[in-house]
């Protein structure tokens, strides 16, 4: 249904490392789930507009007035790694 390459492609997009067994299992389970979801193909959706929101509202805006920032301590208090006032991440090797 959904082959392992697709699972791996999608896992890479989602930046999730999957163990071999996980990838195998997912490829089967996702196949089943998508098979079930394919039920939606029965529905005629011509001329139906998509609903991205549960409620129809529009033009929700705020004024351009400043609010105080978080304290420096709060910003960095959860950081796994930091240096001075910065978050520190491993080297970016594409």
């Amino acid at each position: 249904m959904i082959d392992k390459e697709t699972v791996e492609y999608v896992a890479n997009l989602a930046r999730i490392e999957l163990k071999k067994e996980e990838a195998n299992m997912l490829s089967g389970q996702l196949g089943d789930i998508l098979g079930f979801i394919d039920k939606l193909k029965e529905v005629n959706v011509d001329k139906v507009l998509p609903a991205s929101h549960a409620i129809t509202v529009s033009n929700v805006l705020r004024g351009d007035s400043p609010k105080g920032p978080l304290s420096a301590h709060s910003v960095l208090s959860n950081a796994p790694l930091k240096r001075e006032k910065f978050f520190l991440v491993p080297k970016i090797i594409e």
Partner: protein
């Protein structure tokens, strides 16, 4: 370069100069301590939600209208999903299939004629944070994360690096007139990426394109495009097949470098941002904003030609900067004479030179129109020489003193009095007998030399016209 035509499209990212960020109340001020202008929303902390800044929307509509775009009645935000440490939520709030505006244009000047460059779309999004790369990792500062951005995408209507430069200058000038961004490339508030491909002249099919990034100035854009045209032409000449890729401009080495990525095609998984309801932009709203758009540079230039009798060429130079143009107009109005040529010449000449030397704009020199007019008054009444006037200008900028006061205190009034000049002249003749002989034997240049000596002796105060006449009269006698 004759065999190929370059096809160039530009993508400009522009910070909007709102007080607060796009989706939260944090300040957008530049250059603050790392992560000091952040809150749960722009840090993307779990549970936080965005609320859009109404002023950012107004500014965006203003730019779209000034670029002749069609503002859409229904527009919405989408999420652009990708991972990068400067992107706190793992997605950027941007616009995808229903952008704010579509289908505009911008006229640029090229080789004396106007060329229309199409604008595909102007859409709204948020900026990411900033990375500082160190040996053992990268530092992340989220102060910039969430600053409102406009993305302005041109059609591939640009055919040379010079046109690209013109496009950017014209765009920047319009944005400055709208007063919605400081357009400062050094601060990153204006950034530009380019797409470029070559095709044989006369061919309509597009070639393989390269995306150019990392240009830090308009000149950088121009240089990078020129380099890329040469590089691609050479490859095409040698029969090689180009690959579609992203290349980075190296401003030190003056070349582009391939940015190798493993990723292949990007798959951003755009979908409608569920945290932000859509926007319905009414005609009334559009009209209200249209009315707030000031006179734009090309309109101002035409008016300068019409109202003040300027040459079109001069007018265009004057209007490039909004503040300078406002200052120039103030001077036109304050100047009693009908002919504004002297003012224009001074703006394009000495004022611009002073501004360039000091790395300022003309308006940044901070001289009042009254003082400038006063100075030009001394000059037009022949009370000081052009040379003296320039040095007085310099003093005015340094000291903020009135020109009259400077001229008086430095005793710079031009000597036009015949008797006083004659005395100096006799001294000069006495000291430069060889030049006198030369002149008499037909060497016209010698006269110039003698005038120069006379000017020097008078410390620049001699009226050069009168001095010349007197010398001529005396030597021909």
């Amino acid at each position: 370069m004759s065999k190929y035509e370059a096809v160039i499209g530009l993508e400009v990212h522009l910070h909007l100069s709102t007080k607060t960020k796009a989706f939260c109340g944090c300040s957008t001020e530049f250059g603050k301590e790392a992560n000091s202008q952040t809150c749960p929303v722009c840090l993307g902390l779990p549970g936080s939600l965005p609320v859009f800044n109404g002023t950012a929307l107004d500014y965006a509509i203003k730019v779209a209208l000034a670029l002749n775009c069609k503002v859409q009645e229904y527009t919405k935000f989408d999420r652009k999903n990708y991972f990068y440490p400067d992107l706190p939520k793992g997605y950027q709030i941007s616009q995808y299939d229903l952008p704010l505006s579509l289908d505009g244009f911008l006229n640029i000047e090229t080789e004396g004629s106007l060329k229309r460059i199409g604008i595909t779309r102007v859409h709204m999004e948020e900026d990411a944070g900033k990375l500082v790369h160190e040996n053992d990792g990268s530092l992340v500062d989220f102060n910039r994360a969430g600053v409102p951005l406009l993305e302005i995408v041109s059609q591939p209507d640009i055919n040379s690096p010079e046109e690209a430069y013109q496009y950017l200058s014209t765009l920047k000038s319009i944005i400055e007139y709208l007063d919605v961004s400081d357009c400062d490339m050094e601060k990153g508030s204006l950034r530009c990426d380019a797409n470029i491909s070559l095709r044989p002249l006369g061919e309509s099919k597009l070639g393989v394109k390269t995306e150019l990034k990392n240009m830090n100035s308009f000149k950088g854009v121009k240089d990078a495009l020129s380099y890329e045209i040469k590089r691609q032409a050479q490859l095409l000449e040698s029969g090689e097949i180009l690959t579609q890729e992203t290349r980075l401009w190296d401003a030190k080495e003056l070349k582009t470098i391939s940015m190798r990525t493993k990723e292949g095609a990007k798959d951003y998984r755009y979908f409608p941002e569920p945290d932000l309801p859509p926007f319905i932009i009414t005609d009334a709203k559009i009209e209200e904003i249209r009315k707030s758009i000031p006179e734009l540079p090309h309109e101002k230039a035409s008016r300068f030609v019409e109202s003040y009798g300027l040459l079109e060429y001069d007018a265009k130079i004057l209007v490039a900067s909004k503040k300078d143009a406002l200052f120039a107009e103030e001077c036109f109005n304050a100047y009693p004479g009908k002919d504004k040529k002297l003012i224009v010449n001074w703006f394009i000449g000495p004022l611009m030179a002073e501004a360039n030397n000091r790395n300022l704009s003309i308006s940044g020199l901070n001289i009042s129109s009254a003082y400038l007019i006063e100075l030009l008054g001394f000059l037009s009444r022949n009370e000081i020489s052009n040379l003296t006037a320039k040095s007085v200008l310099s003093d005015m900028i340094d000291t903020a003193e009135a020109p009259g006061k400077i001229i008086k205190s430095k005793n710079l009034v031009q000597i036009s009095d015949g008797q006083a000049l004659k005395e100096i002249m006799e001294e000069v003749i006495g000291e430069n007998q060889k030049s006198v002989t030369d002149y008499k034997s037909g060497k016209e240049n010698a006269l110039m030399f003698l005038v120069g000596q006379l000017m020097r002796k008078s410390q620049g105060k001699a009226n050069p016209k009168i001095a010349r006449e007197l010398l001529k009269e005396r030597l021909n006698a």
